[in-house]
């Protein structure tokens, strides 16, 4: 029963370390805090698993640790990362928070002023250039690191398979 709690406790360690390090660095080094949180959580996972396996070692226990508890930890850590990421970059969450913060809401003009598609593009390009995913050369942008293109391609084909379209704007463009 105790081994069931190991991945959950490890995710709590991940969360605590990530939040504390984020506050310590006052919002800078965001991705470093994510990696640090995941890494310390993983160490906590191994530290908790070892005595459990030491006390009652069997192939079954080892397989449970590797095939069940480790994937649970990785999945929950991934969910936590996306959860934090949503608060950071989701347009929907930002818009909702902005509307909720004002008693008389936002007008369409205010939304357009605060969240124009132009500023959306500018922020995206700046982030991608800073992270090395995009490279600016002779007035044009090129792919730097291919990791996001790979994820984009996987999601593109998943969308095509499940929804039968390649973009949420397919009907707009037709």
């Amino acid at each position: 029963m105790l081994d069931l709690l190991i991945p959950i406790l490890s995710v709590l360690v991940n969360l605590t370390v990530q939040v504390l390090s984020f506050r310590h660095w006052r919002g800078s080094n965001y991705f470093l805090t994510i990696i640090l949180g995941f890494g310390v959580g993983l160490v906590a996972f191994v530290v908790m698993e070892i005595p459990f396996l030491w006390r009652s070692f069997s192939t079954d226990h080892l397989l449970t640790a590797l095939l069940v508890n480790a994937p649970i930890y990785v999945c929950l850590a991934y969910c936590y990362y996306i959860f934090v990421q949503l608060g950071q970059t989701s347009i929907r969450i930002r818009l909702y928070a902005e509307i909720a913060s004002k008693t008389d809401g936002l007008s369409a003009d205010e939304v357009a002023r605060e969240y124009s598609d132009d500023s959306l593009v500018a922020v995206r390009i700046q982030r991608l250039v800073e992270s090395g995913d995009l490279i600016k050369r002779n007035g044009a942008f090129f792919v730097g690191r291919r990791r996001l293109t790979l994820i984009g391609n996987i999601l593109f084909f998943a969308k095509l398979f499940l929804l039968g379209k390649t973009s949420e704007f397919d009907q707009v463009n037709e």
Partner: protein, 163 residues
Amino acid sequence: MIVFLSGAELFALALVAHVIVWKFRLPKHHTPALLGIFFMALLLCFPFALIQGLSLTEILHSSLLYISLSLCYVITYSAIEGDSPTLSLMRFVAEKPLQGRTLREIESFFAERPFIRSRISALLHSSLVREENGRYLIQGSPSLPFRLILGFRRIYGEIPKGG
């Protein structure tokens, strides 16, 4: 091993059920429908697990594996349902690996994809926001995940604009 197999098999079954439902008829609200399928699969398989002779601890353990995998999929699905501006931009730039893309090309690409309008529509569609006399106002109280995200954001403080 039985814990892994039962959790993984149940997840695979739920995925198959999800694909069949999606191919048959796309639900109006994707995420609630997806959560419903995964939850129903868990409920329906519970008696079978007892019949197979799994202990309560094993059932809890494989359920935790199943729930973790399901949450991962549901979260990832939101990126399948709606386009990500960042990933769309990366794919657009990758289409011309030798010439690259100029800022003007990127701007016209985004002009055809009104992300802000689409996200406002999504908020209106999910009844989180209502439009009244040309203003967007909060409708009712937000769902638990929304409240959690907004609450967690306070820990992080100010976030740069631009989504």
